[in-house]
């Protein structure tokens, strides 16, 4: 018993303070991956049944709708090219750095953490696919969260709505910066340290500001739902609704962007006179 307790205490302190324990975790990850796959099977069966039981006419309808959507998007992309070029030229004139395209990879959600007090999801891409800790995750509507743990074939994502999560944002309308923290509920974010005089209104779009070098800038985070000024409080009480469908999205995008990894500090070679 004492030996077991000592092993556990040693492991816990090692996990907190040392790096190599990651290898132990990733080894155990090989054992735990089948468990995650099996527990995801009923959900996937549901999706498969839904897919294979659709009628021909509704498929046709969906096909038409998607075709139209694709046309509209193609038209927008045509404009995008010239707009992007123009934007980059203007940024060059301002001596600002060029905006880069982010590479993405699609991943599938295979599990939700059963703990009701946290908001974690499990996705089916891991170390072997190049996922790294801190990588941002998107869905079609906006930012979802970041990777906090990488196993060989799966990884764990911390959602924006978790109460341990905060993200630097700015109001798209006027560029006011703020910090959005999760409120612990899937449909709410809270903006903290917002002065009472700040120009923030209901319906404003929040986008990621890219400060903190964790998330790429410019992705939608949420829309303001409530602004309250309480004379007894030092700051305004502002809440927002996440843009991403945190409880519905089945497919998510992993972003491989230049901004999401901290740049390595570069040593300047000393110049001999």
């Amino acid at each position: 018993m004492l030996v077991a307790a000592l092993i556990c205490v040693a492991l816990m302190s090692a996990d907190k303070y040392l790096e190599p324990v990651q290898h132990v975790r990733s080894l155990l990850g090989y054992l735990i991956t089948p468990v995650q796959w099996v527990s995801g099977i009923p959900g996937q069966l549901g999706v498969w049944a839904e897919k294979s039981a659709v009628s021909r006419s509704s498929l046709q309808e969906e096909n038409d709708r998607l075709r139209n959507e694709s046309l509209v998007l193609k038209q927008k992309v045509q404009q995008m090219v010239s707009l992007r070029a123009e934007n980059n030229r203007l940024r060059e004139l301002l001596n600002a750095s060029e905006l880069l395209d982010d590479k993405v990879q699609v991943a599938e959600l295979i599990g939700v953490d059963p703990d009701p007090y946290t908001h974690h999801i499990i996705i089916n891409k891991g170390e072997k696919h190049g996922v790294f800790v801190g990588q941002p995750i998107l869905d079609a509507q906006g930012l979802m969260g970041q990777v906090i743990e990488v196993l060989p074939y799966t990884s764990r994502v911390l959602l924006l709505a978790d109460s341990n999560h905060a993200i630097p944002v700015l109001v798209n309308r006027n560029g006011i910066r703020a910090i959005a923290v999760g409120a612990g509920r899937l449909d709410e974010l809270a903006l903290i340290y917002v002065p009472d005089t700040a120009d923030i209104k209901e319906g404003d779009l929040l986008v990621s500001s890219g400060l903190g070098s964790r998330y790429p800038r410019g992705y939608p985070v949420g829309t303001i739902t409530k602004v309250e000024h309480d004379p007894g409080e030092p700051f305004a009480i502002v809440s927002a609704k996440p843009s991403a469908q945190l409880d519905r999205s089945r497919y998510v995008l992993l972003v491989f962007s230049k901004g999401s990894q901290l740049p390595e500090p570069q040593m300047q070679p000393e110049v001999q006179p």
Binding site: M1, A4, A5, I7, C8, V9, A10, L11, M12, S13, A14, D15, K16, V21, V24, R25, L28, G29, L31, I32, P34, V35, Q36, V38, S39, P42, G43, G111, V112, D113, P114, D115, P116, Y117, H120, I148, E149, L151, R156
Partner: protein, 156 residues
């Protein structure tokens, strides 16, 4: 010996799947501790084969599954297995109601130890102690009989 583990390990696999299985939020609050209950069962049934170190290994797997600090569930589970080892000869004689009550206490202790060590290591722990123990105690007779049937079936 090896045959015994060929039965024990699949039941743990099943318990781990149940521990990771997505459920409606409301049920999540009383989600039974499947792995801990399975540890109790096997220590109760064959204390020579299943003991503290089996509990330790399963705890490590549970840690990775839940993304907790490595060793957290392992510590709590091995302490609980030690208690069951002390109690097992008495616990076998209990009727189902008494057993359920003891399971309630054991799971509660397991969660309490986990909460303590988590608050020491991370600084904040999960305070859900009561409802998961109640859920475990309620489901215990069913789980016990299911595992017992599995054990009887594969014994000979």
């Amino acid at each position: 010996m090896i045959r015994a583990y060929a039965v024990i390990l699949p039941t743990f696999f099943f318990a781990l799947v149940l521990a990771a299985f997505p459920m409606p939020r409301l049920i999540d609050y009383i989600r039974p501790e499947w792995v801990a209950m399975t540890v109790i069962f096997w220590v109760l049934m064959s204390p020579t084969k299943a003991g503290i170190f089996l509990a330790l290994c399963m705890g490590l797997l549970l840690d990775v599954l839940h993304g907790a600090v490595l060793g957290l569930n392992a510590l709590a589970l091995s302490i609980m297995a030690y208690l069951v080892l002390l109690l097992h000869s008495r616990m076998r004689l209990y009727n189902p109601l008494q057993q359920s009550f003891l399971v309630f206490i054991l799971i509660g202790l397991f969660l309490l130890v986990r909460f303590w060590s988590e608050s020491i290591v991370i600084g904040q722990g999960k305070t859900a102690l009561l409802w998961p123990s109640v859920g475990s105690a309620l489901i215990w007779p069913l789980w016990y009989n299911l595992l017992l049937a599995v054990r009887q079936y594969f014994r000979d």
